[in-house]
Symmetry: C2
Subunit: 292 residues, 2 copies
């Protein structure tokens, strides 16, 4: 019996998996790394075992921000290109022989970047046949990750702070009152996507949203969707730079993934949605199978 977990900043998802690979139990909650203090990790892990029914797994693999400097223990980044074999060989044991953290990845391609968690989803999706072994995956979230797969390995990736910046604007900026409603992928969203994708004036165009509402030149109720489209369009311009892929696989959280898929389709790419939990589970299984 193995315990496999995707343990992020905000949430954790875990599975208890039998010796033949069958899922015996699963659990998800809001006990992300941000809610756990130094010294609380063994107890937080024990709580996770209890939530999964209390059985003692032979081994546990934990992926995501649990391996960051704000997590249980810092697992070094492995350089790209890297496959599941490299992650399996680089496991960082916090309880020797019993509980290991999956390392994150670093890249210099196309520029310096780091990742913890999405690499397991991307490799898992490819291993499970949910995506091809060669292609581009898009992981929307607080930080969007664009992952380039080649031969089932991760060749490089790029992070864009779209989700975090949208959240900052919505919570704290002069645009806050315009961004309250949940963005829908309609006409205003698509207009924002086009502007963000084609023009390099993001920090000016964001103010233009407010100016148009004040001048009666655009309806107030469309401002949030346009702003979301604008930021996602700028995100796509980075993620798709130089990419000829006709199909992009969008992995992860459903509401944001829906917006990214709509933006990709609008920009002429086929967007295929992949369940993030299924991808993470497949990746963790694969790494567990390959460990020395």
């Amino acid at each position: 019996m193995r315990l496999l977990a995707d343990w992020g900043t905000t949430n954790r998802r875990a599975w208890l998996v039998g010796e033949d690979g069958e899922v015996l139990a699963k659990h998800a909650d809001g006990r992300g790394t941000a809610s756990i203090g130094p010294g609380e990790w063994p107890a937080a892990y024990a709580e996770l075992e209890a939530k999964l029914g209390g059985a003692k797994p032979r081994v546990a693999l934990l992926a995501g921000m649990v391996g960051s400097n704000r997590g249980w223990s810092e697992a070094p980044y492995l350089p790209c290109p890297a496959g599941a074999d490299a992650l399996a060989a680089g496991l960082h044991w916090v309880v020797p022989g019993k509980v290991a953290i999956v390392p994150g990845l670093s890249t210099m391609n196309p520029s310096a970047d780091v990742m913890r968690g999405e690499e397991v989803q991307a490799l898992g999706a490819a291993a499970a046949g949910l995506t091809p072994a060669d292609g581009l995956t898009c992981h929307p979230g607080t930080h969007t990750k664009w992952v380039r797969l080649q031969g089932g390995r991760i060749a490089g990736f790029r992070t864009v702070m779209t989700g975090e910046i949208f959240g900052l604007l919505r919570s704290h900026s002069i645009l806050a009152d315009l961004l309250e409603s949940e963005p829908e992928p309609g006409v205003a969203f698509r207009a924002g996507v086009d502007h963000g994708f084609e023009k390099a004036d993001l920090t000016a165009e964001l103010f233009g949203i407010r100016a148009r509402v004040l001048l009666g030149a655009a309806p107030r109720e469309e401002a949030g969707a346009y702003a979301s489209g604008l930021l996602i369009g700028a995100d796509l311009a980075v993620g798709l730079a130089g990419a000829k892929d006709a199909r992009i696989h969008v992995i992860g959280r459903s509401d944001l993934a829906l917006l990214f898929a709509a933006a990709l389709e609008h920009r002429g790419r086929e967007a295929i949605r992949v369940d993030g939990d299924a991808a993470a589970l497949a990746g963790l299984r694969r790494i567990e199978e390959m460990r020395p």
Copy 2:
């Protein structure tokens, strides 16, 4: 005796000016519009008269966010092109014959935009000979304003949210701990300016700053200056778009104006600093002279 005031969101600056134009008293404090509630305006204005010595001015002109929907009373925006004569003809009287608010400006050139306060500085600088009647002025602040002057009138302008977004990143983002120190216009700042000016990947490159520090590929203590340069470089790319001006006049707050001037010089333009208070006072005097 006239009372002239530049009354912004955070600060207010006021002058008591004699019949021959001489400054009899001046005062500045932090009683910006954000600190004054509805119904408190007459008292806040009376307090300002008292701070200037208690003399009763014949007339008072107030410019800036005091005329916004969060100020004393909303003064409509006047369309560009507009000069001091148009502002003088459009005064919005809150105490008839006694206290007036200077209207803001709106433009559709190059896109929908609004402004309250900087128009008085730009027109005042030109009227006082601090800038030529034809040129581009840059007003750094929470929101940068780039103002195009033609024949001593404002032809159009553009707003960029650089200061606000830098503040959000510094206060609330994953980059917060990297942005604590005050940015200096050195090598890292200039590298950021070049990247922001030349490349359209702002929301990705911001995360790259963090990645490079985590990977030991850039020194932590340079991250803040690079981030400041990056945002200011992107700002310049908007403000200088299509502008052939060899000289740009930078009007306003000294610490930010210093960074914008350094960025402009680095990008091959001559940057001439102009005192924002002197420009505001000159603009208010000019409008008062021209009022019907």
